[in-house]
């Protein structure tokens, strides 16, 4: 297999490899199953968010409201299930969250596809609206007693075990959901006409319209799909944390978009891969969880992520600029 050195994915994979190598040299205990399961656990919710952000970026838009959708959904789901539907099993609780997420995503969809408003502005507005509505009319207190369905899901583990030194490790069942989301999204993007149309709109809306793509319908689908994924991620987050805190999640949106862009998706639309997205998320989770292993205090975490974003987006931008200068 030929390695393409100009791709973001290669660059990110190399940085991840170098990081792991340095961490393993600094602390041989780094290379353990416990570290791996910790990292995978950290990537569950971020991974679903990143897939959602990726599909919007490919379609040529940007969505900053998905964290608010997730927070809204997890809070309302926990509240409604506690009050009215405590007998719902865990899979129905996830389904309930996805339905609420779909409704909120449809609001974005109507404003963007229906009214033709700029995506950044709309989602900036709905971010405040969803969050403000939840905190004003629904509640501000943490829900510490989750409904039985969510509690059951919170206890579900794929793998559980004990290390040689007696410490425990486990991989949460929600990891399987993230993997399913990635496979489903891959299938939509690369095995359906809808996926081709999403890429086409991201490349050029006008060209897409002229070859007969129903741009509004596709855009509407994208924002509803993002809503569904965000709702799912919200319920998973609350189940894993065993508490529904309405102040969680919001504020993560720009880091998620940064992870996706690190993986090679372009803000201008039409470009982006799931491989790159997964690598981007892996790198961000690695920096968040394991910077301390390299002897860098965790207070420097956001500096490290900032530098990574600048290098990850700066190198391709600089190469493109040089290439343009040569051809001119």
């Amino acid at each position: 297999m030929k390695i393409d050195w100009t791709r973001n994915e290669t660059l990110v994979a190399l940085v991840i490899a170098a990081f792991c190598l340095a961490a393993a040299i600094a602390d041989p205990g780094f290379l353990s199953i416990a570290t791996l399961t910790d990292l995978l656990r950290g990537g569950i919710v971020l991974g679903i968010f990143a897939v959602a952000a990726l599909i919007v970026l490919i379609s040529g838009g940007i969505d900053v409201s998905f964290t608010a959708i997730a927070a809204f959904t997890m809070y309302v789901t926990a509240m409604v299930l506690n009050a009215a539907l405590p007998w719902l099993p865990w899979w129905a609780a996830l389904g309930f969250g996805m339905a609420i997420g779909a409704c909120l995503g449809a609001i974005n969809g109507v404003l963007i596809a229906g009214f033709g408003l700029p995506t950044l502005i709309v989602t900036l507005g709905t971010l405040s609206i969803f969050r403000g509505f939840m905190l004003t009319f629904i509640g501000q207190k943490q829900i510490t007693t989750l409904p039985p369905g969510m509690r059951e899901f919170g206890r579900m583990m794929l793998v559980r075990g004990e290390n040689a030194d007696g410490s425990f490790y486990s991989l949460h069942g929600a990891f399987a959901v993230t993997v399913l989301v990635i496979i489903l999204t891959w299938a939509i993007l690369h095995r359906t006409m809808l996926g081709r149309q999403i890429f086409a709109i991201g490349g050029s809306v006008e060209s897409a319209r002229r070859i007969g793509i129903k741009v509004r319908g596709v855009q509407f689908f994208v924002y509803v799909y993002v809503g569904i994924l965000a709702g799912l991620a919200g319920v998973i987050h609350a189940s894993m944390a065993r508490v529904a805190n309405p102040f969680d999640l919001v504020g993560l949106e720009l880091s998620v978009i940064a992870a996706v862009v690190l993986g090679g998706a372009r803000l201008a639309g039409g470009h982006g891969t799931l491989t790159g997205t997964v690598l981007g998320v892996a790198l961000i989770v690695l920096v968040r969880n394991s910077l301390i292993v390299l002897g860098i205090p965790s207070t420097w975490q956001s500096v490290a992520i900032g530098i990574l974003i600048l290098i990850g987006t700066g190198l391709p931008a600089w190469q493109a600029k040089r290439a343009a200068a040569r051809s001119a």
Partner: protein, 329 residues
């Protein structure tokens, strides 16, 4: 649209974004006055509003300038906090004589220098290296905030000489000092955009980057200047926040970032570049402040403000595009 309706002054007022915004501001003002006349229309309320809004209004000016070039500056709040922390370190560690005016001037100079250097960093990323502004400033914003956290360990810095309080809390001939500062900056920004060659270049590049290149505008130099000015405005806002809070912390004003973007867009600035007027931004700031103070008085929570701001933004955008579509057809 017929020419007859266009001729009346009323329709001409509605035809411009600023005209509609002026009307919205007026409606909000009248509505809030009607809802709680004794509290909203009091001198005390006006004074407290005049102390509240300048800090994020200054950030909105920075956002306006970068948006005019089709860019955005997501690092302004990071710059504000980093410069406030650098100033706070000087204020707490250098002991001056008397009321500490000399030390304060030194701290202000250092803060402004931080703002200028941070802005220069952004400018080089955007202009020289060609990064998309949203990513460049997102990354640099994380770096500035990160340095601020690393310098303080994340805790607040306090214990400043009394003179520090002046810029955020004093009055000048009865007018709150932060308001005077904002008015001066807004006026200067307006002059810069409409009366100088630099302003024309900024708007021309925002409207059509290719045409600007063919018009032999030195785009890189122009963009660097834009981000340097934005950084300086961030530092000034940081000084006002530091003075009003009487402390400096790495995560102050984190909600101001989206608010600044919101105000600029509400004020009619085109986020894709090319169009925007300072008067629109000032009207947007005023309507936001009337709305939040008024709602505060009738006992609505801070979170409801967020809800109403978001709704207002989307409402204005729908009206604006509706008008644009109507004019085309």
């Amino acid at each position: 649209m017929t020419t007859a309706t266009q001729a009346t002054p009323m329709t001409r007022l509605f035809a411009s974004t600023e005209g509609r915004l002026a009307l919205i501001t007026l409606v909000v003002f009248v509505l809030m006055s009607a809802l709680s006349p004794d509290k909203f229309l009091s001198l005390q309320n006006f004074t407290s509003m005049a102390f509240q809004f300048p800090e994020f209004a200054i950030l909105a000016l920075a956002m306006t300038l970068t948006m005019l070039t089709g860019g955005i500056d997501l690092s302004v709040v990071g710059i504000a906090n980093l410069s406030a922390i650098v100033a706070a370190m000087i204020l707490t560690q250098v002991t001056g004589s008397g009321d500490g005016v000399a030390v304060l001037m030194m701290a202000y100079a250092a803060a402004l220098a931080v703002g200028l250097v941070a802005g220069l960093f952004n400018g080089v990323l955007v202009a020289t290296l060609g990064l998309p502004p949203i990513l460049a400033t997102l990354g640099s914003g994380l770096i500035f905030t990160g340095i601020a956290i690393a310098l303080t360990g994340g805790s607040a810095m306090m214990g400043f000489p009394p003179a520090t309080a002046w810029i955020g809390n004093a009055t000048l001939l009865g007018i709150p000092a932060p308001l005077v500062l904002f008015a001066a900056l807004a006026f200067a920004m307006s002059l810069l955009l409409t009366r100088t060659a630099f302003g024309v270049k900024v708007r021309m590049y925002g409207a059509n980057p290719l045409a600007a290149r063919f018009a032999a505008i030195n785009i890189d130099a122009m963009l660097i200047k834009v981000y340097v000015i934005s950084g300086a405005l961030g530092a000034i806002a940081g000084m006002v926040v530091m003075s009003r809070a009487n402390s400096a912390k790495a995560d102050y004003g984190s909600s101001y970032l989206l608010l600044a973007v919101l105000i600029a867009v509400l004020g009619g600035v085109n986020p894709y570049g090319g169009y925007g007027r300072v008067i629109g931004v000032v009207l947007a700031v005023l309507s936001m402040q009337f709305l939040s103070s008024g709602l505060n008085m009738i006992g609505v929570s801070n979170f409801a403000r967020e809800l109403i701001w978001g709704s207002l933004l989307i409402f204005v955008m729908i009206v604006n595009t509706w008008r644009a579509k109507g004019r085309r057809s």
